[in-house]
Amino acid sequence: MSYQFDWTPIWQNRQLIADGLLTTILLSLAGLVLALCLGLIVGTLGASRSRAGRLVAGVFVECMRNVPLLIHMYFWYMALAFLRLPPFLCAVLGLTFYSSAYVAEVVRAGIGGISRGQTQAAEASGLRPWQVRLLVIYPQALRNIAPSLASLSSQLIKDSSLASVIAVAELTYQAGSIEGQTFRTFEVYITIALLYLALVTLVTRGLMSIPGLREPPAVAKVSDV
């Protein structure tokens, strides 16, 4: 091993790395919020009683998650180039549509896991359909699926690295440009790998430490008769 380590270029370019990290965080945050919203809608549709609704949700999920994220990104960036969206927005949209399929499946499973008796009891007590969802179903389902959503969030942060191919100046992109200037290949990539690791660990630990989300509460089993 004749490689000479030299970490000074990393420290000299700390501003670029910090900017990249900030862009990665913003990108992931925007993608996550939108993917959660879209996934909640599609997942609710997928768990609904309407057959057409389930079909639409199923087709959406299969089409979105069986196409690589890279293709999603290129599609917004190149195929829909006439929209003239900035690269950052293309990356957010790509991440949103791709990840929302995964969120939708988790949400659908979460809603499916809530006993039918809960819906029936809520309806019998005179709540409107939207109240049943908002006040009875979602709060219980959310607690049960919180661990899955946390792991989807960490997935999304890692996936955001693909935005570098459509020239969004996030962490991986900055690593490439620092590497191009300094040729400190190993140091640069190890540094950003560790930054991703730290970010992902922080987010996963942070989400799971929210009180009430850590342990799924024992849901009272009401038999469906």
Binding site: I71, S161, T185, I192, Y196
Partner: protein, 216 residues
């Protein structure tokens, strides 16, 4: 309208072949390495078990693209060897997916009821035999659905190899697009191809599951 696809069909099919080849290499390499890591971690082998856990947790926190860049640029620089984009991608995919597969194997191992181990020991089998003949086969059969969803993930992830210059399906499509600039048709057809191939792989997974599943 589809002229651009028809005219470049052989080139694109060659790309598809490369994508499938990368996926097969990643699946084989990742499954073998993942199984070894899972067994080391599950059986708490001294030192190696802890190293396996460290490896799994580290790689699971790193994006695939960064993993490929490390395999293509950083490792060859560090150990001063020459590599090709294809070899680096194969290595990167195997190392990357192994950490996810290891966790699926491990949860399969943990789902095997302890009573079975006790019964196996009571019939006079040695601990190693109990593990090899009773626990491991059941764990693998239980793990089939999550394993296949990781395989499908890997199949989609092979598209990232285009970034380091492997001419697989996405890479070929980008080259064709660079010459003929018809992104809607080209990307649409590529997306459809991935959709079909990934659905086929999920289907195989479901078939295997239907034959081999252990329902508790």
């Amino acid at each position: 309208m589809f002229d651009v696809i028809l005219a470049n069909m052989p080139f694109l099919l060659e790309g598809l072949r490369m994508t499938l080849l990368l996926a097969v290499i990643g699946i084989l390499g990742g499954t073998i390495l993942g199984l070894v890591l899972a067994i080391l971690r599950y059986r708490r082998v001294p030192v190696l078990g802890a190293l396996a856990a460290l490896y799994i947790e580290t790689v699971r926190g790193i994006p695939l693209l960064v993993m490929l860049l490390i395999c293509f640029f950083a490792l060859p620089a560090l150990f001063s060897y020459r590599t090709t984009a294809f070899a680096a991608a194969s290595l990167g995919f195997s190392l990357f997916i192994a950490s996810y597969l290891a966790e699926e194997f491990r949860s399969g191992l943990r789902a095997v009821r302890p009573g079975l181990t006790q019964a196996g020991l009571a019939t006079g089998l040695r601990p190693g035999q109990v593990f090899r003949l009773i626990v491991l086969p059941q764990a693998i059969r239980r793990a089939i659905p999550p394993l296949f969803s990781q395989y499908v993930r890997l199949l989609k992830f092979t598209s990232v190899a285009s970034v380091i210059g492997v001419r697989e399906l996405t890479g070929s499509a980008l080259l064709v697009n660079a010459r003929d600039f018809q992104p809607v048709i080209i990307l649409g057809c590529v997306a459809l191809t991935y959709l079909v191939v990934c659905s086929l792989l999920s289907f195989v997974g479901r078939l295997l599951y239907a034959r081999l599943a252990i329902r508790s």
